[in-house]
Symmetry: C2
Subunit: 511 residues, 2 copies
């Protein structure tokens, strides 16, 4: 049979847009082609609590009816009313008639407001038996041992840097055992923090890869399940995949929230430099404004490095020194601060004044503030709440400092865009004289290794010590991680890139 | 049999403390008494991802062994290793020997890192059959129709203002059908945003209430299941329950996070006045500092009302006018703001400067900033991010404005504590001359009604219109709610009081 794999980039609850996209694909399809859309293609996703409202499933139903009017064959996902229950459903439509529906049984966090459905269904089509359903329900279906010709598995699979190959590999043993063809259709595009990476694929009866659609691109491709040929992947490097995920994530965040302009603070450091470059690539240099906010603690090269970046990227910029604000703040707080030692309170004030300035620029110019915190800082709580943790969306919040450096170097591979000095100099928050990140934190190379073992590797203190790390350093890292949980409850959401994103995959007790 | 119901207030992952509490209760128990501790009593809860670390289940096991050394009988909850799986378990211990264990099968959001267990178990004890397990697994067990004498159901039930009676009523039909005694043991105390309200109870074979432990108090009570007598409840008013929940929530937040001092901004308005009073009741007047930050847009009565409150509560205060800061901010931002109309950007700057001042006081004095936003504001996005939405924990973030007024009046029932003028005057953010909340929002009485229908009642636009509300107002409220989802992703967490708390029960797509 001829299947048209369609990794659609739906817009959440924008039924009109989604149906229009889906219909134009059906219109162009021949009569003998069955189009496969991803999970919740008609409504977009994640839907969370929105599905509890009757109008959502009503609109979904109307959209499905409109799709049927094309009189074509397709499998399409949408929220479905069933009495009082709302189900995550997949309609099986043949020449405009709904002949069957599968409903999702193994629900995920995205499906938190759906009721539990029935799992995979089978249907006869062109003299073959098709099993169709959701990725999370496949394991249960495979365990039944039913004989089918083709399995169609739709998904809502979120990008994680090492996941695509794991996803493919996960299905191979069951497909071999079932000796069936296997078609996996994943959505593409981003919603909030989540990037759906496409990468739909086809396996033959032996579990060999016979097709893979591109990552990060909305695409449609017709596959004839009776003429499958082996497919050779051209794998991308880790940093390259992360880059494309961030670009798609930011671009869709702006498109789907109807925002065009971004603003960010430029410290001359590597983090803000990388974010500025990513923003330029995602939404265009004409839409990005950098704000330099030097203080008395800023070094000369900070301003120079930031200006070099501005020149390289050709973006607008403002220079707004914060000394007058800082002096006024200290004088306003004199009654409280008098006769105390200068410390964290004074450092945080500078970061918060910068946030106030940036939000002032953002509010006045209708721009969104981009957050520039990285994962290592977020882990260690090395940031000021309502200061540099602020912003509408974080671009590098799921990247360790080592990844930040690596991506900056990769982006400079064909010529310097990010100033070399921003890459090579020792990281500093510049909130007091001569301050270096390494005064408060272990060296990033060490910090990142310990964090990776603990966060992604789920190793506890003893297990990390066995690896040979110094106990004082390990204790310091784990302590910083723990005492800053509360802070991460209010940090800017960031684009998810790893298997262990703060605020999504790591939820911790506050106390 | 004699059961000692113990609604323990465990501390998260503080095994030493929890075991000490549990052992002291066992020490005082007679040999013929079986003590019932709540879900996860040895570890505290919610545990979220912490259970993925081996040291957590190791410590739990050591704690259980220590408990067994008392040679008493008890049922106690803890995380349990089973190969690579971590289970939410309930040990059945008779005279210091573990004779059985139930593992939780129907997992909740708190259990997100636990693997699925087996549900209820039954055991023979004193010639009777006891079924024991978790609240969420009871329905499945009841459906089996097994004949048992006593059901013991442990819970981790979070306070919601109308929930206690619902919880009791929910079990009655099944208990009648099973004709068994039913003992429900809920934990007490708070963790982060969640208040566990105790209120453990006992039903006889007819489903009649035979005992109910106090709400909001850690308590132990011996019940002889062979001598049950009918029990008459003394129900508390809604506002009184909310009050006690906030007090317990805030007190435990401070105790468990090892914080003693609080700071908050006092505007002279009702919200901050109520929060100040609640803080004084929870952590003592000597630990609460109010900061008045008048601006050129503040009315005379604002300062007077705030000072009246300070006097009534006898708390420390600072007066830090923000005009010098605001003027400096406008002058710093002149290049960006020149030739634009004064608007939201300028209003937000004031709120953000106040946040900077409050956090300065908090950081310098080692205090926690209390958030003073209410649920109506949060719904409508009527607040400034990194401004008045800031704070470590919100006390009234799950209370509509109508509840704020009602609680203030209730607290004044024996004499004025919260200045009458704060209660009676028209709410205003005072960010520009003559500003009133009602300039931007529908009247709170109307706003709160529409929000309640939509949020708690899950009514969509059409269903609300059928109730007779004006379509313009309904559209405005639903629009404000939608466009401010992103803002609520970064708001200060608040103590959960209702069935529909922002950030917990309502998660929405950003786009």
């Amino acid at each position: 049979m001829k299947l048209q794999i369609t990794q659609l980039n739906s817009r959440t609850l924008n039924f009109e847009y989604n149906v229009k996209q889906a219909k134009s694909i059906l219109k162009n399809a021949n009569e003998d082609v069955m189009t496969i859309f991803p999970e919740l293609a008609l409504s977009g996703s994640p839907l969370y609590e929105t599905v509890l409202y009757d109008n959502v499933s009503k609109q979904a139903l109307a959209s499905a009816e409109s799709l049927c009017n094309e009189r074509k064959s397709c499998i399409v996902g949408m929220p479905l009313h069933n009495g009082n229950e709302k189900l995550n459903a997949l309609l099986f439509i043949v020449k405009g008639e709904v002949i069957d529906a599968a409903t999702k049984r193994n629900l995920t966090a995205f499906d938190r407001s759906f009721a539990k459905g029935n799992g995979f269904e089978t249907a006869r089509y062109e003299n073959e038996t098709i099993a169709f359903g959701f990725e999370t329900d496949f394991e249960e279906f495979a365990a039944k041992g039913e004989k089918v010709d083709v399995v169609i598995c739709v998904a809502n699979n979120v990008f994680e840097v090492n996941k695509q190959q794991e996803t493919i590999n996960k299905f191979i043993p069951a497909v071999r055992k079932m000796a069936c063809k296997f078609v996996y259709v994943n959505r593409c595009g981003a919603e909030g923090q989540f990037v759906f990476n496409g990468g739909s694929f086809v396996l033959n009866e032996k579990g060999n890869l016979c097709d893979e659609l591109p990552l990060f691109e909305e695409e449609t491709k017709i596959v004839d399940t009776n003429r499958l040929k082996l497919f050779t992947q051209s794998p991308k490097a880790k940093i390259e995949k992360m880059y494309h995920a961030v670009i798609l994530g930011l671009r869709d965040y702006f498109i789907k929230n109807n925002i065009s302009k971004a603003v960010l603070g430029l410290s001359g450091g590597i983090d803000s430099a990388l974010v500025a470059k990513l923003a330029v690539d995602a939404i265009g240099k004409e839409n990005v404004t950098g704000v330099l906010m030097p203080s008395e603690y800023s070094t000369d090269h900070s301003v120079k490095d930031a200006l070099d970046l501005v020149n390289n990227l050709q973006i607008k910029h403002f220079i707004i020194p914060i000394k007058p604000l800082y002096d006024t703040a200290l004088s306003s707080l004199n009654e409280v601060f008098a006769n105390t030692q200068r410390g964290l309170a004074e450092e945080n004030i500078q970061a918060r004044l910068r946030c106030m300035v940036l939000m002032g620029v953002a509010n006045k110019t209708g721009a969104l503030l981009l957050n520039t915190s990285n994962k290592s800082e977020a882990a260690a709580g090395y940031g000021t709440l309502y200061g540099d943790t602020s912003g509408g969306i974080g671009l590098i919040g799921d990247m360790y400092k080592k990844d930040v450096w690596e991506m900056a170097k990769w982006l400079n591979r064909n010529g310097v865009v990010i100033p070399e000095n921003s890459i090579t100099k020792a990281p500093s928050a510049e909130l007091s004289y001569g301050q270096k990140d390494s005064d408060s934190l272990p060296e990033y190379s060490l910090l990142d290794e310990i964090l990776t073992l603990h966060l992604e590797g789920k190793m506890d203190r003893e297990q990390i010590l066995v690896k040979g790390y110094d106990s004082q350093t390990v204790d310091k890292v784990l302590h910083l991680l723990k005492i800053n949980e509360w802070k991460r409850h209010q940090c800017c959401p960031c684009i998810k890139l790893s298997s262990h994103t703060f605020g999504i995959d790591r939820l911790m007790p506050v106390s």
